[in-house]
């Protein structure tokens, strides 16, 4: 089961942004930036669970939901990896170190990292989808012996679009079998070319002891989940992170309604078995 959605227990109003200061800014790709934020208010920097998101408020422009991409062990900061695709997210990407942002959350359900010992993990990320999974990867690295086989399969558009590339050697050295494939590559690329499912044939999946976590474009997750089902995985052992345009983030406004679920409250992390009938429908 994905972890239940977060509701603040300290009496604070989840609709009121808290002030955070940007303490580090790192450019990942030409369109993507990672910001590290620390609380600048009375409430300490909030704890989070892998997979959860916050509402980041660029003052005067608006709010957008952004997944947390950092380590749960760093209690002094929250990291967000943001792709600048709209007015707010582009503004966030350009905000300098030292500037203030408003933050609500963290909200939503988490990846099922906790669980029985020696489970195999299959982490499948496409594009910016690696960001919400990096927190899982960090937790696995901290408790590597707790898990069985652990794979990280990464798909990206081009070599220049790969996120966190400088971290892959460390992940591999710690026993995470990290593999990368690109949609398109120049002649100098030595790795794999093809969609992320093209990495599956050479990955050993042991049904009933594997949990898969998928994050990326919905089409990618749907095909990846189907390929994993073909390998014998139960749809309830496959988790996906859904992206919708959240507004209130606490299940009031209905903006992110997806069938019977509010993605902000019931998701973003959900078992594929709960969604698979909806993922093939248009305009849901």
């Amino acid at each position: 089961m994905a972890v239940e959605g977060f509701v603040p227990q300290d009496g604070s109003d989840p609709m009121v942004p808290e002030p955070y200061r940007i303490v580090e800014r790192r450019r990942e790709t030409s369109h993507t930036v990672t910001l590290a934020l620390s609380s600048a208010g009375e409430v300490p920097t909030r704890a989070f669970q892998p997979g959860q998101f916050s509402m980041l408020y660029a003052f005067g422009l608006g709010e957008v939901p952004i997944s947390i991409s950092g380590s749960t062990a760093r209690r002094d900061r929250l990291e967000y990896t943001i792709r600048g695709v709209g007015a707010v997210s582009k503004a966030l990407c350009e905000t300098p170190v030292g500037a203030m942002l408003g933050v609500r959350g963290p909200f939503g359900t988490a990846w099922p990292v906790a669980g029985p010992e020696n489970r195999d993990l299959l982490i499948v990320a496409g594009g910016i989808g690696l960001a919400p999974l990096r927190s899982v990867i960090y937790q696995v690295l901290e408790r590597r012996s707790h898990f069985g086989n652990a794979f990280v399969l990464i798909g990206a558009r081009t070599e220049a679009d790969l996120l966190f590339r400088d971290e892959y050697p460390r992940w591999r050295a710690a026993g995470l079998d990290t593999r990368v494939t690109l949609d398109a590559a120049s002649g100098s690329w030595k790795g794999s070319v093809g969609v992320v499912t093209s990495l599956f044939p050479n990955v050993e999946v042991r049904p009933n002891r594997t949990v898969a976590m998928l994050c990326g474009p919905e089409v990618m997750m749907r095909f990846a989940a189907q390929a994993l089902r073909d390998k014998g995985l139960s749809p309830h052992d496959i988790y996906v992170s859904m992206e919708r345009n959240m507004k209130c983030a606490v299940g009031f406004c209905g903006r992110c309604q997806y069938g019977a679920d509010f993605i902000c409250r019931d998701g973003p992390v959900l078992p594929f078995g709960r969604l698979e009938d909806r993922l093939v429908l248009q305009e849901v």
Partner: protein, 155 residues
């Protein structure tokens, strides 16, 4: 051909489950081949007289223009490289080059065609397997055409 190749062929994912009789026929067309990184397995436009079942390493398929060379696909252990030997006019459509040291079963295309013609059951079985690979590659290309990692509408 050395008879010792048959057990190894039987273990290759592309051929797994084939009858011993079919494998015995195929073994007559097969040999082991090592390619150093950078070495070509096939060249665009030339006679497609071979195909390869990758055992270790990686092979990239290149489409080249005057300006640049682009990798359109790669194949790794367990995968097939080359189906032009079974489709007229039997000419390779891409360059295939090892991107790392690669070990493969090197199958003689003319020999395979002859055996498939002589033994329709073998030919049908082989063609079914090639078709699965073709379908998988087609799915892969169609998914990439969607450009799912392209810029979404954003906030």
């Amino acid at each position: 051909m050395p008879s010792t190749l048959q057990p190894a062929l039987a273990e290759h994912p592309f051929l797994r489950g084939m009858t011993p009789e079919a494998l015995a026929l195929l073994t007559g067309c097969a040999k082991n081949h090592r390619f150093a990184a950078g070495e070509y397995l096939a060249t665009h436009g030339t006679q497609a007289d071979r195909c390869f079942l990758i055992r270790k390493g990686r092979v990239a398929l290149y489409a080249a223009s005057a300006a640049k060379s682009v990798i359109v696909n790669t194949a790794g252990p367990g995968e097939l490289v080359g189906w032009s030997w079974i489709i007229t006019p039997y000419r390779y459509r891409f360059d295939a080059r090892a991107t790392e040291d690669t070990l493969a079963f090197d199958l003689d295309g003319a020999c395979l065609r002859q055996k498939c013609d002589d033994n329709p059951a073998l030919g049908y079985e082989f063609l079914k397997r090639v078709s699965i690979e073709l379908g998988r590659r087609l799915d892969d290309v169609q998914l990439r055409l969607l450009d799912v990692y392209g810029e979404p509408d954003g906030g």
